[in-house]
């Protein structure tokens, strides 16, 4: 009876809450999703694929060309926070995957800046006009630094 009662109490209180699920959520992806203002659940891979920076959908090494560009910037500024460095990379207006669209434009269009097969369908000039009108790279400046 004692075990049954205890089990019932554990169930009532939600024993699953003991599992530290937050540990499994990549912090840098989460930071980027918030910084870009992407809608959707942080737990949903479609909100931002790990291949935004990594080669594999599972993350980890190796990184794609945009990921390597970001890593290089992180090395150059070891005392800077991740959002500041990420914004700095986008503000360079570079096109890491050489698909004709700058990295920041790809963020704006929600395509992958490190994958040449993923790029906006809208003409570059038109997209850039909309991007600049919306605020340009300042859109992704960390809030605290604004």
């Amino acid at each position: 009876m004692r075990r049954a009662a205890t089990a019932a109490l554990v169930a009532l209180l939600g024993g699953a809450a003991l599992v530290p699920v937050a540990l499994a959520r990549p912090a840098y992806r989460e930071a980027a999703v918030r910084q870009f203002g992407y809608p959707g659940s942080l737990l949903n891979r479609s909100t931002m694929s790990c291949t935004f920076c990594h080669v594999s959908e599972r993350g980890g090494a190796p990184w794609n060309v945009f990921g390597e560009e970001l890593r290089g910037a992180l090395r150059e500024r070891p005392g800077a926070r991740f959002p500041e460095v990420l914004h700095g990379v986008l503000a360079r207006d570079l096109d890491a995957d050489c698909d004709g669209y700058a990295d920041a434009l790809e963020v704006f269009a929600r395509t992958l800046p490190g994958d040449p097969d993923s790029h906006p369908t809208e003409a570059e000039a038109a997209l850039r006009t909309r991007f600049e009108a919306a605020g340009g790279a300042d859109l992704y400046r960390p809030k605290a630094a604004k």
Binding site: T6, L18, P20, P78, G79
Partner: protein, 390 residues
């Protein structure tokens, strides 16, 4: 069912149905002793080498050309080691001989997974066979589910027990005896019904719980922090821990966490800030205990699930490693650096080779501070540094 079991389940059932925290009620038999162990978890894998810095070791600077703590910045504590500059608020405790570092702590067959390694620290079982946490086993040994609780955030596996539910709370303020409106009289009538045997015992326990709750809540309202806590969530949790202790809840173990130490990138920015949050919070907590006259009764023990690799990575950070440092703070602590620093030129797959099993550090706290049998709670005999004065 034994009388004590009835008491525990009865108290817990009442606490659940009323929304009141059982630990405040303390209807169950009080644990012996009045010393408190506060466990601080640094979640994410704190980098030990940039926390207690081997500033005299060229291998440290060779491995970390971008993120090492410059020698000129460290807070020197020995001819070879210095604390991260963000830990300056703790130097007062260090100078008073009330702050200890335990060097090179880990466990056999290290696991670089956050989840697996944290579970190992929580259960004190590197074989990952144990279901219960080591603090859950403390509660079972004492026979009181209210002798330990988590403050802030998700309840850790360390407090899990197969036979008890240890409380977890976000803030002390939110907890009180709250019956649904209009049910107060009915509740009182229920308690007033004459009963016999175990039912009578549960009834008396419930009344005692209500009485204890009122007393503790009154004490909690009287609490005035004896120091200025910083405006951080971690410091707020520590203030709640101090408030619980000062309110006379009689708990033996209180647990809280500070997260964000998984510094794969931007380590100097992120870890520097986190260590500052840690140090400022602990310094305020320590000063508060002094002001409350409780400094003799409380020690803090801190850990992280693993350290980081010796060499920095390509993102201005470090990846998951193995051994790291633990720390302890309090008037009962034997200050200093305990154990040998890792040999940075003799590594295991790029990681330091741990020398001190963390269970030896736990065992010392159990045997010497909480006066509990470490062998029974940890499932074996473990030795470690004498980091406590008595």
């Amino acid at each position: 069912m034994k009388r004590r079991d009835v008491l525990k389940l009865g108290a817990l059932a009442v606490s659940m149905t009323s929304g009141m925290p059982g630990f405040l009620a303390r209807a169950a038999a009080r644990a012996g002793g009045d010393r408190v162990l506060v466990v601080v978890q640094l979640t994410g894998g704190n980098d030990g080498l940039n926390t207690l810095v081997p500033y005299s070791n060229p291998a440290y600077y060779a491995a970390r050309p971008g993120i090492a703590i410059p020698r000129k910045d460290v807070l020197t504590v020995t001819p070879d080691l210095g604390m991260h500059p963000a830990l300056r608020p703790l130097m007062r405790s260090w100078d008073a001989g009330e702050f200890a570092w335990m060097e090179n702590v880990g466990y056999p067959n290290p696991n670089r997974s956050h989840f697996a390694s944290m579970a190992i620290w929580h259960t004190a079982d590197p074989a990952q066979a144990a279901r219960e946490g080591w603090i859950g086993r403390i509660a079972e040994r004492i026979g009181d589910p209210f002798c330990a609780s988590n403050v802030g955030g998700v309840s850790p596996l360390a407090l899990r027990s197969d036979t008890m539910i240890l409380p977890s709370l976000d803030t002390v303020d939110g907890f009180a005896l709250k019956l649904p409106a209009g049910l107060e009289d009915a509740y009182e009538r229920m308690l007033s019904v004459p009963r016999s045997g175990e039912a009578a015992f549960v009834g008396r326990a419930t009344r005692q719980m209500i009485s204890d709750t009122a007393r503790v809540q009154e004490n909690a309202r009287k609490y005035r922090a004896g120091s200025a806590y910083p405006e951080t969530r971690f410091a707020a949790s520590l203030r709640d821990v101090a408030r619980l202790i000062a309110s006379g809840t009689g708990q033996r173990v209180l647990y809280t966490s500070l997260g964000g130490f998984d510094t794969h990138a931007s380590q100097r920015a992120d870890q520097d800030e986190l260590l500052g949050v840690l140090a400022e919070g602990l310094a305020a907590f320590r000063a508060d205990l002094d002001a409350q006259g409780l400094a003799e009764k409380v020690v803090v023990m801190g850990f992280s699930e693993f350290g980081r690799r010796v060499a920095e990575n390509g993102s201005g950070g470090t990846d998951h490693g193995k051994g790291s440092v633990m720390f302890a703070l309090g008037r009962g602590v034997r200050g200093g650096v305990h154990g040998e620093s890792p040999d940075l030129e003799d590594l295991s797959e790029g990681d330091v080779k741990y020398r001190q099993d963390f269970r030896g550090v736990y065992a010392h706290a159990l045997d010497r501070w909480l006066d509990l049998p470490s062998g029974e709670i940890l499932g074996g005999t473990f030795t470690g540094p004498a980091w406590l004065r008595s």
